[in-house]
């Protein structure tokens, strides 16, 4: 870091020095002062690479994990077999990554979408034809959603075939099944939102099935549709489920899931 600072100092040197020190020296002095200031040290925790730079040492390798909100979901060290891609196939991590992509692209789509029967389809059409990157982002959202269903499903299969649901991981397996169900529900609620023929009739098939729930069938259907049949109320209801309620719930369950992975001893051992 000091090297980079001094190099840029040479570039900026325009006779500002007091005659005794070269501009690069003055600049590195300023850099030193900034990095030892209270403001700087309050932002960057001890061991941060922005304090003393990064040199490869076991201590700094630990600090990389401990000083990052995102990375510290990991432990500092893992068993060697857990690093092998052929063991986990990255499926759980990729499911989470797809969820992040879906969140980001979904926020973008929300700027151009109104969940009413009169406007929804036209908004999607406008998004595709006259919004910069609108078509690309919608495609990404759609394909990432299908990929997430597949990757969550494959993740569940992988965990089963490794016997990784056995004690002490029974509870995390149950959480995982809930996450699979929530993923399917998120995908299904999003299916209605384009409000085209595919959406309308797929959801008609789906909600008709749920209407056959024993005892409460018609009530379940009424609650899901927001009325006797699919309409603009259904669209609003499923929109709120899709962009707010289900993501909120799935994030809570994901937090428990990741936390329990750590608490139950990390990834399970090899076969």
């Amino acid at each position: 870091m000091a090297k980079r600072l001094s190099r840029s100092g040479n570039g900026n040197g325009n006779g500002n020095g007091d005659g005794h020190r070269s501009p690069s020296e003055r600049l590195s002095e300023v850099g030193e002062k900034v990095r030892s200031s209270q403001a700087w040290t309050s932002i960057f925790r001890p061991g941060s690479i922005f304090r003393k730079g990064y040199t490869d040492s076991p201590r700094n390798r630990s600090y990389v994990i401990m000083n990052s909100l995102l990375y510290h979901l990991h432990p500092v060290k893992v068993k060697r077999h857990a690093v092998k891609v052929s063991y986990t196939l990255c499926l759980g991590g990729l499911s989470f990554f797809l969820f992040i992509i879906l969140t980001l692209t979904g926020i973008f789509l929300m700027f151009f979408y109104r969940p009413t029967a009169a406007q929804a389809w036209n908004d999607i059409r406008t998004l595709e034809t006259s919004v910069t990157f609108g078509l690309l982002v919608r495609n990404m959202h759609r394909w990432a959603a299908h990929l997430m269903v597949i990757s969550v499903f494959l993740h569940m299969s992988r965990v089963f075939y490794h016997g990784a649901y056995k004690p002490p991981r029974e509870f995390n397996w149950v959480i995982g099944v809930v996450l699979l169900t929530l993923t399917l529900l998120l995908s299904f609620t999003g299916y209605l939102l384009p409000w085209d023929q595919l959406a309308l009739w797929a959801v008609t098939v789906g909600t008709n099935m749920m209407g056959y729930t024993p005892v409460f069938g018609s009530q379940v259907k009424f609650v899901l549709l927001g009325g006797a049949e699919i309409g603009t109320d259904t669209l609003l209801r499923w929109y709120v489920l899709h962009v707010l309620l289900l993501p909120f719930v799935i994030v809570i369950f994901m937090a428990i899931h990741f936390w329990r992975v750590r608490k139950d001893g990390g990834l399970s051992g090899p076969l």
């Binding site: 990255c90 759609r142 016997g163 056995k166 995908s187 595919l198 797929a202």
Partner: protein, 255 residues
């Protein structure tokens, strides 16, 4: 060991000659001033003789005049006057065994060393590559293949066939065989519940494939059952949800 410089060797030789120590191992009563200690001479195997001689010589060198005078009297008195060269135990040992503590009685010795690696860089690199590969694939695929957007929703026109999303097509397939309450609610409900109960109903503690043939067979059967139903629902169902071959009548399926 490095070589001892020549001048030091020479100096040591001179010093030895001055002290009368040509052969260190042999007790020479006449030569050294404090040489004739019977206790020391009797135990030559406890401390190497040349070391003993050297330390005695060093001890004798400082109080040289007094020691020399005392040494003239006889061998017995020299013991009292010469300073003890080394602190010794009863049998000439320089340390004593106080007690023996067996490992494991007060320490918790864990004989399970785990082979661990740092998450950074070993795991994070892999995760980064996986994320980048997934992003690249998604971006390219999205640039090439458009998400379907059919005509605007129309209550008065039912597409033939109407299909649920692909992951529910297994259930829709079951609808052709069972009452909707069985196919749409009971079977998927039992399926999800059975999945949740897997760790509690599978009491087999082993996770080796050869020990859990039944569990693996059951799960494979379960997954293949759904997989086959979904594939049939996606590609082998045409107008009226009747069975067709995709290569004969085309594919009636939107993702």
């Amino acid at each position: 060991m490095t070589e001892v410089p020549e001048h030091l060797l020479r100096r040591s030789k001179e010093r030895r000659a001055a002290l009368g120590l040509p052969v260190p191992g042999e007790p020479d009563a006449g030569g050294g001033p404090a040489e004739a200690s019977p206790a020391v001479a009797g135990d030559p195997d406890k401390i190497p003789p040349h070391l003993l001689a050297r330390s005695q010589a060093a001890g004798a060198a400082s109080p040289a005049p007094a020691a020399a005078a005392a040494a003239a009297g006889g061998g017995g008195t020299a013991v009292a006057t010469a300073p003890a060269p080394v602190a010794k135990g009863p049998e000439g040992h320089t340390q004593r065994l106080l007690t023996v503590v067996k490992a494991g009685s007060i320490q918790d010795v864990r004989a399970t060393p785990t082979d661990k690696v740092h998450v950074w860089p070993h795991l994070l690199i892999g995760e980064f590559v996986a994320c980048m590969a997934m992003s690249a694939f998604l971006l390219v695929f999205s640039a090439l293949v458009n998400a379907p957007l059919l005509a605007s929703a129309n209550y008065n026109f039912t597409p033939n066939p109407s299909k649920a999303p692909w992951y529910f097509l297994g259930l829709q397939e079951l609808l052709t065989m069972f009452h909707p309450m069985i196919a749409g609610v009971t079977i998927p409900g039992i399926g999800i519940f059975a999945l949740m109960l897997a760790p509690f109903s599978d009491k087999n503690p082993s996770n080796k494939p050869e020990d859990r043939k039944f569990a693996i067979a059951l799960m494979t059967l379960f997954l293949m059952f759904w997989g086959v139903l979904v594939i049939i629902g996606c590609f082998f169902r045409g107008p009226g949800f009747n069975f067709t071959f995709p290569w004969k009548d085309g594919v009636f399926f939107d993702l």
